[in-house]
């Protein structure tokens, strides 16, 4: 059986079905997207994080109203690096230092009495006040969390009232942290609720749809890109150069009114196929708009993405030209990194899709992925991982900290691509790490971003610090007190 029992899991054998060594002859899908074992030191976050942090947060011109006690809101204030170019004014002559979507944190600050008597009045008043304080906002998304989910506030009702009173778009994203097993539930909730609300809105206010005369035959929507560290600044021009028009990005640096027009495009190009493919499916089912899956990481995959998109519109020739030009731009740098990085062994731990997005990218750099772990992947992610992996790769679903440690200590990878929490764990073991969620110094997507990614990997592996980790050489040591 390809499933393996790690030593650290002796006492929780149920983890065995989440962990396997890939064998193409006997390919398996682990138990996934299931409940976390309490106390197993999981790295997973909550559904609210998926809705507020991942998808809602990147939208540029809305107020993210967190209906919660202060903590849930504080934790999602400016943390993920989903950047935007839309800035409020700080003074009459200066724009703010951070973009609107990361500059403010709006929260209803639920107190004990609100928990007892319900928080709807408070929410309503907060929303109205927020629109008065931030008249520049084009809309609002109200997020619920465990507290407000548990007390059962009717936030949709409040949203309708506020929309009526203020005249701006008000959406709700009800995905309390405890409503699912991981962030993934929040992605799903956001997708379905947002789609439903956009559809209803378009019926209610047809003027928000794209006017016929504004449409072109080359309109696409890029779904599932969140503009981490300005990925979009390298991705968007590529699509424009091949001759398509990006009407909306779901949801990186996007204006809410453009998102209402998502449904008016000819093709949906889906990058993150875990957090956002749902909405592409729904648009396909509801409006017959096709979608295509792409990866925008690495040279080959980015090229492939452009080819796929171009093929849909008969723009193949232009695409080839763009690709050739882009590859020429990065060739020198890539040659440098290929030489330095060839043969290095990599372990990846991310949310899910990036494991399979990055397997080929690592191979392009001559490196080998020896282990992959996912926080919230589903069956289809593991199918994709299996399809791209070499035999012998260790795969862990929803790893807990102990498992990651055992993985690192037994496999001793040359580099550990991980999130912020785990990166410091790897470092304590002397294993180089690169922050793969928000990046070290992005963008990492597209052709140009690939060079940044390779650079950060190179810096990780070749930093002189690793030479000094073994203590003072040849020196008698006195025992410490501890």
């Amino acid at each position: 059986m390809p499933f393996v029992d790690l030593k650290c899991n002796e006492k929780i054998p149920e983890r065995g079905k989440h962990i396997y060594v890939h064998d193409p002859e006997n390919s398996v899908i682990p138990a996934c997207n299931v409940k976390t074992i309490p106390g197993d030191m999981t790295e997973r976050g909550c559904a609210f994080a998926g809705a507020r942090g991942v998808i809602g947060g990147p939208i540029a011109d809305i107020i993210a109203m967190v209906h919660a006690p202060v903590g849930c809101a504080w934790f999602t204030w400016g943390t993920r690096r989903h950047l935007s170019d839309l800035y409020p004014w700080a003074t009459p002559t200066r724009l703010a230092n951070s973009a609107f979507n990361r500059r403010y944190c709006a929260v209803t600050d639920m107190q004990e009495k609100d928990v007892v008597f319900g928080g709807m009045k408070k929410l309503k008043q907060s929303c109205v006040e927020a629109f008065r304080l931030f008249p520049e906002a084009r809309g609002m998304i109200i997020f619920t969390t465990c507290t407000t989910g548990l007390i059962g506030d009717d936030v949709q009702g409040v949203a309708r009232q506020v929309e009526k009173e203020v005249g701006k778009l008000v959406f709700t994203a009800e995905s309390p942290g405890c409503s699912g097993v991981s962030q993934s539930k929040g992605h799903h909730d956001f997708n379905t609720q947002f789609y439903r609300q956009v559809k209803a809105l378009r019926q209610r206010r047809p003027e928000l749809k794209m006017r016929e005369e504004d449409k072109t035959d080359y309109d696409i929507c890029l779904i599932g890109d969140y503009n981490m560290d300005w990925d979009l600044q390298v991705i968007k021009p590529l699509f424009e150069k091949i001759g398509v028009r990006i009407v909306a990005v779901f949801s990186g640096n996007e204006r809410i009114e453009n998102l209402v027009k998502m449904i008016d495009v000819r093709l949906n190009v889906v990058h993150c196929q875990r957090s956002a493919e749902y909405i592409a499916h729904m648009i396909q089912d509801g409006f017959n708009t096709p979608f295509t899956r792409v990866s925008l990481y690495g040279i080959e995959q980015t090229a492939e993405a452009l080819r796929k998109t171009a093929a849909h519109f008969g723009l193949e020739e232009r695409a080839e030209k763009v690709i050739a030009g882009e590859i020429a731009r990065v060739e020198k740098a890539m040659a440098f990194y290929r030489e330095k990085l060839a043969g290095k062994r990599i372990a990846i731990y991310v949310g899910g899709p990036r494991v399979w997005h990055w397997i080929r990218l690592m191979e392009e750099l001559g490196m080998e992925v020896i282990a992959g772990a996912c926080t919230f992947a589903h069956e289809d992610d593991y199918e994709k991982i299996n399809a791209r992996s070499k035999p012998g790769v260790l795969v862990i679903d929803s790893p807990n900290e102990f498992e990651l440690e055992e993985m690192l200590i037994t496999l001793k990878p040359d580099l550990f691509l991980a999130g912020l929490k785990e990166k410091y764990l790897g470092r304590k073991m002397g294993i180089p790490t690169v922050n793969s969620h928000s990046y070290e110094k992005g963008p990492y997507a597209g052709f140009a971003g690939m060079v940044n990614f390779a650079r950060d990997i190179y810096q990780g592996i070749y930093a002189p610090v690793w030479r000094f980790q073994d203590g003072i050489p040849e020196m008698p040591q006195r025992e410490g007190e501890d």
Binding site: I12, T36, I37, P38, G39, D40, M41, T42, R44, G45, C46, A49, D61, P69, V70, G71, C72, W74, F75, D85, Y87, W89, A90, T91, P92, R94, A96, R103, V107, T108, E112, K122, Q125, L133, C146, T147, L150, I151, G177, C178, G180, Q233, P237, R329, A333, F336, E401, F402, E405, I409, L420, Y424, L425, K428, G430, P443, A448, V451, G471, D482
Partner: protein
């Protein structure tokens, strides 16, 4: 991006050419009616987090201790993330992983199973069970759940091994207070459950540092060592959250250091308890006083000359120990540094914000430097804070033409909008959440307080004690110089 070739070192930020797009064509002032936090229910830019993270901070300062958070995963994962952002260290914290069923049936199974799973894999010596909003709303009965978990453990690993694990419940519903109170409740909970006997009084002192950083705790320990005082630092994060990189690292990862359970047990025998922050830890000190007659010395926050003097005097009174020549020299160097710098600090208009104790401590120090505080803001409402800054202001009346504006429990939005109305401001002192404000007002910011995540090293540089104050002073003075003297006039200072 007009680069024809991407250089080997990638695309730097400035080559990305991101143009800032204004969200409205022109500046419009914010609705003045809604600027005071007291005039609205909405909170914008809170300068406080929730109770559990304060309690988790505390537990992480105990040797081989793991916080177990009774709630859904986010409350834990976000906190771990926050610790890693601040300390650049791993933070091992377990969660009960509430999913939908727990929300319906309560968190009993999650706690019982969760503690079991944690114990048999990690073998911690201490578990701090931290509750969250959800477990409190559902009314989880922690005492009975923990009892059940203990029984389960006894059956599996035997009574003896179960006995060796201290499990301390800390009730921290966030809707009832901030991280400051979370720490405070943890302090009380730990002494209450572990320091149960005053059987052999000693001349040791207890130190409850509050939300001070590793660098501060090391400075306090240095003072104690110089005075020859033995101590128990309760919640000693100075090693646990500032661990060296020296593999091989055994797994599961436990950082070195932290307060040992035996030390906490001995706290009832101490000569006195010093709570360095009034709101974060004071309850622990007062509990020991009430219950065992261990005198509680709560505050003042030892930032600056006088507050450090007071700390030393109080330590001396409690133990009969004296200051050392080294400490006196440190004080002398601090005073010397103040004499060297006052032309650049005096009459500079400064705004201070953060946790109440940080702000009251720093406010006193900047007054000692002759600076003029124009606005001080505590993100968590606090009576101690109000009283402390009032005392400072009355002592230093000569520094002010107008009385400084005091915000108590307000949000940073109100604070920032107020600063924007001031005719002049020279410096802001506060945590990382004030960086935007400082940049927009084009004034320097000196980072201090909780949390600082956007730079390296602040968790290691002390601001307490004479040496800490001296370092802090240089940062303040140099920030003023950097900002006001961009040319070569600083060739003679």
């Amino acid at each position: 991006m007009k680069l024809t070739e991407i250089p080997v070192d990638g695309i730097p930020y400035d080559h990305l050419r991101i143009e800032k797009i204004p969200v409205t064509p022109a500046f419009a002032p914010r609705d003045p009616e809604l600027l005071p936090a007291s005039s609205r229910v909405l909170v914008v830019n809170p300068d406080r987090i929730c109770m559990p993270i304060g309690a988790m901070w505390a537990v992480l300062g105990i040797h081989r201790a793991i916080p177990f958070v009774q709630g859904a995963q986010g409350c834990t994962t976000y906190a771990r993330y926050t610790f890693s952002r601040i300390f650049k260290e791993p933070a091992t914290i377990a969660t009960a992983s509430f999913h939908e069923d727990a929300a319906v049936f309560g968190g009993r199974m999650n706690l019982v199973e969760g503690l079991r799973n944690l114990v048999v894999r990690y073998w911690p010596e201490v578990i701090g069970v931290v509750t969250t909003c959800s477990s409190e709303i559902m009314g989880d009965d922690m005492t009975s759940f923990i009892g059940e978990a203990r029984m389960k453990l006894q059956a599996e690993i035997g009574p003896e091994r179960t006995e060796q694990i201290a499990i301390v419940p800390i009730n921290t519903p966030s809707f009832a207070g901030s991280h400051v109170e979370g720490y405070d409740r943890a302090a009380k909970a730990f002494v209450q459950s572990l320091a149960t006997d005053r059987d052999a009084p000693t001349n040791r002192v207890n130190i409850i540092p509050g939300l001070f950083y590793p660098g501060d705790i090391r400075e306090i320990k240095h003072i104690l060592q110089e005075m020859g005082i033995e101590s128990t630092v309760l919640f000693d994060i100075s090693d646990t959250l500032d661990a060296p990189l020296e593999p091989p690292q055994s797994i599961p990862y436990y950082p070195p250091g932290g307060t040992h359970v035996a030390e906490i047990k001995g706290m009832a025998n101490a000569a006195a308890t010093f709570a360095l922050q009034l709101d974060a830890g004071g309850s622990g000190a007062r509990y020991l006083e009430r219950k065992f007659g261990v005198p509680a010395v709560v505050g003042p926050v030892p930032v600056g000359v006088v507050a450090t003097d007071t700390l030393l005097q109080n330590l001396g009174k409690a133990t009969g120990c004296a200051t050392s020549p080294a400490l006196r020299a440190e004080r002398g160097r601090l005073v010397d540094a103040m004499a060297d710098t006052f032309h650049h600090t005096m009459m500079k208009r400064v705004a201070v914000f953060g946790d109440p104790d940080y702000v009251s401590g720093i406010t006193r120090f900047v007054c000692e430097l002759g600076m003029t505080p124009v606005a001080v803001s505590a993100g968590t409402e606090s009576k101690n804070f109000a009283a402390a800054v009032e005392t400072v202001f009355s002592e230093y009346q000569s520094l002010f033409l107008d009385p400084p504006k005091v915000f108590n429990g307000s949000d940073l939005f109100e604070f920032e909008e107020y600063l924007k109305t001031l005719p002049r401001l020279d410096l802001i002192i506060g945590n990382s959440k004030g960086v935007d404000i400082a940049r927009e007002l084009e004034v320097p910011i000196v980072r201090a307080g909780f949390p600082i995540y956007d730079r390296f090293g602040y968790q290691k540089r002390p601001i307490v004690g004479y040496r800490g104050a001296e370092l802090f002073l240089y940062e303040i003075a140099n920030a003023v110089l950097d900002h006001r003297y961009p040319d070569d006039r600083t060739q003679q200072l």
